[in-house]
C-alpha cells in the first residue's frame, strides 16, 4: 500500500481515525501503520482529538438565561432616545460607511479640481503684472477698444423678420 501522507490522501487517514473506512481498507491501513511511523503518529494525534471531543461537554445554560435575555431586550427597547442615539453613533456602526465616504471625497475632490472657481483664478504666468508699461497700457487699451466693438454684436438684438437689401 502506498503511504497516504506521501500520496496526499489524508482523507483516508481521517476516515480511518473516525472509523468510517470499510474493514478491508482499514486492515490494509493498519498493516501499513505498523511499518510507517508518520501515519502511526497521525493516527495517534487524530485519536487524541476524537477522544477529547468525546469528553467535551457544553456548559449548561443557566436556569434564568431566557428571563435575563428578555430583560435585556426589554431594557433596550425602553432606553431613552439619547442612549439609542449614542449607540447608533458608535464608530463600529459606521465602519461599513467608510469606503462610501472615501468614494464621495474622491469624487468631490475630482469635481473641484475639474471645476475651479473663478475666485481661485490666478494671473497667468509669463507677463509681469506688477508694473504695466506705457506700451503694455496701449495694448490693453487697444484690446478694450476691440471688446467695445465686439460688445455691439451682443447689444444688437436679433430680428425674426427677414432682411431687405440696403
Amino acid at each position: 500500500m502506498n503511504c497516504p501522507l506521501q500520496t496526499e490522501e489524508t482523507d483516508l487517514l481521517l476516515d480511518y481515525s473516525a472509523g468510517r473506512l470499510d474493514a478491508a481498507r482499514a486492515a490494509a491501513l493498519t498493516q501499513h501503520m505498523e511499518q510507517c511511523a508518520a501515519c502511526a503518529a497521525f493516527r495517534t494525534e487524530q485519536t487524541a482529538v476524537w477522544n477529547a471531543l468525546d469528553l467535551w461537554e457544553p456548559a449548561p445554560v443557566s436556569m434564568d438565561f431566557n428571563r435575563r435575555l428578555w430583560q435585556r431586550i426589554d431594557a433596550a427597547a425602553a432606553a431613552p432616545w439619547y442612549q439609542s442615539l449614542r449607540d447608533s453613533l458608535r464608530f463600529t456602526n459606521w465602519k461599513p460607511a467608510i469606503p462610501l465616504a472615501a468614494a464621495v471625497i474622491v469624487i468631490a475632490a475630482g469635481f473641484l479640481l475639474d471645476h475651479p472657481g473663478q475666485q481661485a483664478r490666478t494671473p497667468e504666468p509669463g507677463v509681469s503684472v506688477t508694473n504695466v508699461s506705457l506700451r503694455e497700457a496701449d495694448q490693453v487699451e487697444q484690446t478694450l477698444d476691440d471688446i467695445q466693438l465686439l460688445q455691439q454684436l451682443d447689444a444688437v438684438p436679433s430680428n425674426t423678420g427677414n432682411s431687405k437689401t440696403m
Binding site: 504695466v132 497700457a137 484690446t143 430680428n159 427677414n162
Partner: protein
C-alpha cells in the same frame, strides 16, 4: 456590507469616465494669447488695490480710463464676458491686415440703421449654426447676395469669421 462594497467599487470605477466626459465642456486652451489680451486678463483678475499698483506708473488719465473700462467689462454677465473673449481671441488670431479689415467692418456696423444691424446680427447667428463648408457656400450664394448689399455682405463675412460655430 457586500452591497456597500460593490457600490463603492462601481463608483470608483466610474470616476475616470466621469472626469473625462463631464457635463461641462472643456474650455479650449487660450495659448499664445495676444499681449494686450493677456495683460487685460491679468489686470481683470487683480483686486482693485493690486490693479492700482500695477497701473501706478501710467499717466493718471490713462490709468483711470483703463480701470473704468475694466470695471465696466466686469459688470457684464460671465457668459457674455466669455463670448467677447472668445471673439477677441479669434480676432487676434487673424493676420494683422485681416484684423484691421474686421475692425473696420465692426465700426461700419455701428453706423448702419437699426434694422440693418438686426438683419446682419440675425444672419451672423444663422451662419454660426452652419458647418464651415455650408457657411462658405451660403456666403457665395445668390440668396445671400440678394438679401445684403456688397458692404453688408462684407460685414457679415468678417463678423462671421470671429463668431464661434455652435
Amino acid at each position: 456590507m457586500f452591497v456597500l462594497r460593490a457600490f463603492t467599487v462601481l463608483v470608483l470605477a466610474g470616476i475616470p469616465a466621469f472626469a473625462g466626459q463631464g457635463g461641462r465642456p472643456k474650455a479650449e486652451p487660450r495659448a499664445n494669447k495676444h499681449p494686450g489680451e493677456q495683460m487685460l486678463m491679468n489686470l481683470s483678475q487683480m483686486t482693485p488695490e493690486e490693479r492700482e499698483k500695477a497701473l501706478s506708473r501710467l499717466p493718471p488719465a490713462q490709468r483711470a480710463n483703463i480701470e473704468k473700462r475694466i470695471e465696466k467689462f466686469q459688470t457684464l454677465p460671465p457668459a457674455q464676458q466669455e463670448r467677447q473673449l472668445d471673439r477677441l481671441q479669434r480676432l487676434n488670431a487673424l493676420p494683422p491686415q485681416r484684423q484691421q479689415q474686421v475692425r473696420r467692418s465692426m465700426r461700419a456696423l455701428q453706423d448702419l440703421p437699426q434694422d440693418r444691424k438686426k438683419a446682419i446680427n440675425q444672419e451672423v447667428r444663422r451662419l454660426s449654426r452652419m458647418p464651415e463648408d455650408d457657411r462658405q457656400n451660403y456666403l457665395n450664394s445668390d440668396e445671400f447676395h440678394k438679401r445684403f448689399s456688397p458692404d453688408e455682405q462684407k460685414i457679415v463675412g468678417d463678423i462671421a469669421e470671429i463668431t464661434p460655430t455652435r
